[in-house]
């Protein structure tokens, strides 16, 4: 563990001279099961290598658990509205499965991808919460995490906003306005439609990919069973034919192992990327919700401000003593309204940049997944061909008159 106080430039690995390109690379590794019984959980080693000035030292290692990642994700989601926050792997539903080697590996890989996406995102990588996550010791992390529960998550102004939201929702219902206010932007409508339908298509593809993994396992199992049975059947035959049976049975068992390997490869390098794609789309949906909320707020505040303005003018005309108070309120509200408009417009601008990024990213991700898929399948098919082919000369040697 490198001490945080090491002087800059003392490590020969990553010079901090301005001419070197700035980088930030993170690895999530070494899952370890900690704790007992119901309290048990997995911890990961998070290794950060960087030459960014905001970070301590060229390398830092911390221990983190899944809920720490969730904390980071939620903080980013709150602060960076409009950006598609990289998705997290799901919480596991089934207790039994939680500590299976496969699940742990899948999760580790997903978390690694998650953190690296944040670290390479132009805005997100500057986040203070990211720095906290990557550098602070475990106690600090735990404290930060436990503060985020319940309504303490929200800052006071946000709290007000919630009440206002509820208020306006109630008045909407009372006034008979059931449908929330929505943007009437045809391009955005198209995008929404695209995202929703995309999720369906992807979910279907991911489902089939998962099924394919299962099929590989099943085929592997049946090859193992078949191999065994063939060997036993061969024992009923004479010497040389019996030997061929035995060889065939062995090859069958060998291929069974290869199939299990390919099943794992498929899971990690084909099915997981598809699942990741689905999660990414869901993250976009979350941003869309944020956008809708921001739009609604902007509209409502604009409306309320207008009302207040009208009221103020009335009061000023009447030279009422309430006018002063009203003016102050009006100015406050106007500022809030402008803030809400700014928030909304930021989201719109960010979204369009993010969308382009998303499409490019996905083309690359999917391309890689396809490549791995094709490679794995080709390798498997070749292994199958080789294994069976080796038996042909032996079978040819078994002409009826010769073998006995």
């Amino acid at each position: 563990m490198i001490s945080p106080g090491s002087p800059p430039g003392s490590s020969s690995q990553s010079p901090r001279s301005p001419s070197a390109p700035l980088f930030l690379s993170v690895t999530v590794t070494d899952p370890v099961k900690l704790g007992n019984g119901v309290q048990a959980y997995i911890s990961y080693r998070v290794i950060t290598k960087t030459n960014l000035p905001e970070y301590q030292g060229p390398e830092k290692i911390v221990i983190r658990r899944y809920s720490d990642f969730v904390w980071l994700h939620d903080r980013l989601a709150e602060k960076y509205k409009g950006i598609f926050i990289p998705p997290l792997p799901e919480k596991s539903a089934v207790e039994k499965f939680r500590f299976s080697a496969e699940f742990i590996e899948m999760r580790r890989q997903a978390l690694d991808i998650f953190i690296n996406r944040i670290a390479s995102h132009p805005q997100l990588k500057q986040s203070e919460d990211l720095r906290t996550f990557l550098q602070e010791d475990e106690e600090t992390m735990e404290r930060a995490r436990s503060q985020e529960t319940g309504i303490f998550k929200k800052k006071p102004t946000d709290l007000m906003q919630i009440f206002k939201d509820v208020q306006s929702m109630v008045s909407d219902v009372v006034l008979g306005k059931e449908k929330p206010v929505e943007e009437s932007n045809p391009e955005y409508e198209k995008l929404k439609h695209y995202i929703f339908e995309l999720e369906d298509h992807l979910a279907e593809a991911q489902k089939q990919a998962y099924r394919l993994v299962k099929r590989h396992r099943e085929l592997g199992q049946s090859l193992a069973d078949f191999g065994k049975a063939i060997k036993l059947l061969g024992a009923c035959e004479g010497d040389s034919l019996g030997k061929v049976f035995s060889d065939l049975g062995s090859k069958s068992e060998l291929l069974s192992i290869k199939l299990q390997k390919e099943a794992h490869n498929l899971l990690m390098n084909f099915e997981e990327p598809l699942k990741d794609y689905v999660r990414a789309v869901q993250s976009i949906k979350a941003t869309m919700t944020d956008r809708a909320n921001a739009f609604r707020q902007q509209c409502e505040l604009a409306e309320t401000t207008k009302l207040k303005e009208i009221n103020l003018d009335k009061l000023m005309l009447m030279r009422s003593e309430k006018a002063v108070e009203a003016e102050i309120e009006y100015k406050e509200l106007k500022a809030e309204s402008e803030e809400a408009t700014r928030r909304f417009e930021t989201i719109v601008k960010l979204m369009s940049e993010e969308m382009m990024r998303f499409q490019e990213q996905k083309t690359a991700d999917l391309g890689l997944a396809f490549h791995e898929f094709a490679r794995g399948q080709a390798k498997l098919a070749n292994e199958i061909a080789d294994a069976w082919r080796s038996l042909v000369p032996k079978l040819d040697a078994c002409s009826p008159s010769m073998c006995s």
Partner: protein
């Protein structure tokens, strides 16, 4: 039992119109071959719901293949691949065209037997079912192998037979060819006939009869039998006498029983003509009881019966056969599971391809970014590869089914072996019973002689009894010789058949394994090519660290 043409009952995949309308690059040649798993199509007569399968708008059911021109995933390999020997199933041989089994089949006088054209007919004379029963007849076409010299005489025979005739044939063969491994006949399968659709059942039966007749024809001894010849060639009513049902047989036997028990003349003892048939299933109740008593004495009594199964070689072989049967059963099950697993993986790959095709189409239509268009093209590429691979899996599997079917065939054959072995043991039991009869007869004769010699001048009634007894002894001696001859003959048949089993099994198994392996290699190579190309196409996305 081995009724179905294909043991696996694999159905063609669910509706795949979407896949079939795919305009794929490098599409395989469309074929008009029927689905390899479908039975030979029967010509069906108009509109009879019994015989005419319901119209299926989507995929062909296994009883009426309707090949669409674009069902190209059922093609034989499109390349001229020397490795693949076309799979021919003529006359019950299950091996490739080069094996000696084909040569044996070629020696059969029947070049080809076909069962077709099921028709409903009315029961003419009084049937037990009120209102008149109907039954189905099948057209059986037999082509005779013409001698090279081109001798005269008809080369093709057509007869109409019903299932009951097949049963008769089987029963007659069982009587005449004891000790042989007679191919088992199709089941009567009462349950199935209730459960299945009529036309499906008829088709299954048609196919089973065809297989059965072909196997009979291929048997070196039975193929030459009169019974088979008569069955295949004689038009009109089958001239083989039908076996009566068990009920009347029992009644018949019960009538004779009192006579037998009270010892009227020769009614008590089996004559030579009777002993060549086993007691069980016959009409001679007394004989059945006696042999049963003998077998109990064999099992429980301390005394060894006069003749035992001493043939060590036979006993060893019997044990081996039992072992073989067990392993065949397991292997047959696992083969079925393997075929299913291969089927499933091919299917899922196809569905994956389909899902990706839809995705690609969607992305293309909705594309607003270039990266989307590129991605859509990538997805389509992968989908195409997946669909191609899926087709290869399916084709490969269709062949695998045929090759591994040998296991099921031999498992079915085990029944014939059991039958032949039980012929032997019942013949032995008959011999043992007769021998013990003889010894008790001799004992009685001695007693009578001793008693009558004490009376001066002879005891007329005793002398007469003694003479009757001596007559009975003579008959029984004849019967015993006959029974022993019959037993020896069966032993001999067992032996030759066991040798034939070993020989043919060896050849068939080698052919099976070779066929299986070669098929797997061929298709694995093709699938590897498909994916290698796709990997090549996507190589630009590969991680640099690779």
């Amino acid at each position: 039992m081995m009724g179905a043409e294909n043991h696996y009952g694999l159905e063609p995949p669910p509706p795949r119109e979407e896949m079939e309308t795919l305009a794929l690059v490098d599409d395989d040649h469309p074929s008009t071959d029927p689905h390899p798993l479908a039975a030979v199509p029967a010509t069906l007569h108009g509109g009879d719901p019994l015989l005419f399968p319901p119209p299926s708008p989507h995929s062909p059911s296994s009883s009426s293949p309707s090949p669409s021109p674009s069902s190209s995933f059922l093609d034989p390999p499109a390349y001229a691949d020397v490795v693949f020997s076309p799979f021919d199933s003529q006359n019950g041989t299950s091996s490739g065209s080069n094996s000696p089994r084909c040569a044996a089949a070629a020696a059969s006088e029947y070049a080809r037997i076909t069962v077709s054209d099921p028709q409903k007919e009315q029961e003419t004379s009084g049937s037990l079912v009120p209102g008149g029963g109907t039954y189905v007849t099948y057209l059986i076409t037999t082509k005779i192998r013409t001698p090279a010299s081109g001798g005269g005489g008809p080369t093709e025979f057509r007869v109409r037979r019903r299932f009951r005739d097949v049963v008769t044939l089987a029963d007659r063969l069982a009587e005449s060819y004891r000790g042989f491994f007679i191919p088992p006949r199709p089941d009567k399968s009462v349950v199935e006939s209730q459960v299945m659709q009529k036309h499906e059942f008829v088709e299954q039966r048609r196919s089973a009869i065809e297989k059965y007749l072909r196997r009979l024809a291929a048997h070196p001894v039975i193929g030459k039998s009169d019974e088979l010849r008569v069955f295949l060639r004689t038009p009109g009513k089958l001239p083989l006498s039908a076996s009566t049902d068990v009920a009347s047989r029992m009644l018949d036997g019960a009538v004779r029983l009192p006579k037998q028990l009270f010892g009227e003349g020769g009614g008590g003892y089996a004559g030579p003509q009777d002993v060549v048939q086993p007691a069980k299933g016959g009409r001679d109740l007394l004989r059945i009881f006696k042999e049963l008593k003998q077998s109990v004495a064999n099992d429980w009594g301390g005394a060894k019966p006069a003749v035992v199964e001493e043939d060590k070689e036979f006993l060893e072989r019997k044990e081996k056969v039992q072992d073989l049967e067990q392993q065949l059963s397991t292997a047959s099950q696992q083969a079925e599971a393997l075929v299913k697993a291969q089927q499933d993986i091919g299917e899922t790959l196809g569905e994956l391809g389909l899902a990706f095709i839809k995705l690609a189409k969607f992305e293309t239509e909705e594309a607003t970014y270039d990266s989307q268009r590129i991605r859509a093209a990538d997805i389509k590429c992968l989908a195409t590869a997946a669909v191609k691979a899926s087709r290869f899996y399916r084709e490969s599997n269709a062949q695998t089914v045929k090759h591994l079917d040998t296991l099921h065939e031999y498992l079915g054959l085990m029944l014939s072996v059991h039958s032949a072995f039980s012929d032997r043991s019942s013949a032995l039991l008959t011999v043992q019973t007769l021998l013990s009869d003889l010894s008790s007869l001799h004992a009685r004769a001695e007693k009578l002689e001793a008693a009558s010699s004490k009376i001066f001048g002879g005891d007329k009634s005793r002398i007469r009894k003694l003479e009757d007894l001596k007559e009975t002894i003579r008959i029984t001696e004849d019967a015993k010789s006959c029974a022993i001859r019959g037993y020896e003959r069966i032993k001999e048949n067992n032996k030759t058949e066991l040798e034939r089993l070993d020989r043919e099994r060896r050849d068939d198994f080698v052919a099976m394994l070779r066929g299986f392996v070669v098929n797997q290699v061929g298709y694995a190579e093709k699938i590897a090519n498909v994916w290698a190309k796709e990997a090549e196409e996507t190589s630009r996305y590969a991680k640099e660290s690779n």
